[in-house]
């Protein structure tokens, strides 16, 4: 089953890049990821593998990245 991709833009001054990398590894069982970046954002293109849980996967992934960023003490 194919699901639509969602683009999440994490601001570099707010989110840690290492936290995003770690979160992508952890969540790779639940979604497919494409990573890119711009001057101000880490861009994560996320395609959930389970359509009924797509919104939950996207939201929980965002929370996970934020939690890891906070655990790291913020952006270094």
């Amino acid at each position: 089953m194919t699901t639509t991709a969602t683009e999440l833009r994490f601001h570099r001054e707010v989110y840690s890049g290492e936290a995003i990398d770690q979160a992508v590894k952890t969540w790779s069982n639940f979604a497919e990821f494409e990573l890119s970046e711009s001057d101000q954002h880490w861009i994560v293109k996320l395609t959930p593998k389970h359509e009924p849980a797509a919104a939950r996967i996207i939201g929980e992934f965002g929370n996970y990245v934020l939690g890891l960023t906070v655990d790291r003490g913020g952006v270094q």
């Binding site: 707010v14 929370n63 960023t69």
Partner: protein, 168 residues
């Protein structure tokens, strides 16, 4: 794009709600609410909401809270953003107190750790390297005025005169 609507009693410029997406955004002044405080408040809400942070413009932060459970009433979103704002204020104040008392906290912590380590043993003192210069003072800043400019004793004056004659 969902329709944005204001929430009663809260300034429209600060907070907007999207009922169709059961989410609410709050825009913050980064000078009043430092990023560490926003982190702290967001962390508390991770179990109840999906929280996304952004910096829409320099000096501003935006937190978007999406309720995990279905929200039917605008009042529920209002309560959510109100609780978030209160938590944010609490975190900002605690952050400020921590900043103000940082030196005292560090001093007490260092003293506590040093006290817990106990006094050095005789072996530690015997192994201590006393030859290391404690202070490198090439400009003579640590010298007293008398040491630097005071009248010299006859012996010192004689010694300096001898050095000048030898160099000449």
């Amino acid at each position: 794009m969902s329709e944005q609507s204001p929430i009663s009693d809260i300034p429209e410029a600060l907070v907007s709600a999207a009922l169709t997406e059961r989410s609410v955004s709050i825009t913050l002044d980064a000078e009043l609410y430092p990023l560490q405080a926003v982190y702290g408040a967001s962390y508390v809400f991770l179990d109840r909401c999906y929280v996304f942070l952004d910096r829409p413009e320099p000096g501003r932060l935006r937190a978007t809270l999406s309720a995990k459970q279905a929200v039917e009433e605008p009042e529920a979103l209002r309560q959510l953003v109100g609780e978030f704002a209160n938590e944010l204020l609490s975190c900002a104040w605690r952050h400020q107190v921590t900043q103000d008392n940082r030196v005292a906290i560090e001093t007490v912590t260092v003293q506590a750790i040093a006290g817990a380590m106990g006094e050095p043993s005789l072996d530690d003192l015997a192994d201590f390297d006393f030859t290391d210069e404690a202070l490198d003072d090439p400009l003579g800043i640590a010298q007293s005025w008398e040491e630097k400019h005071g009248r010299k004793t006859p012996a010192e004056a004689e010694g300096e005169r001898g050095e000048e004659e030898a160099s000449a």
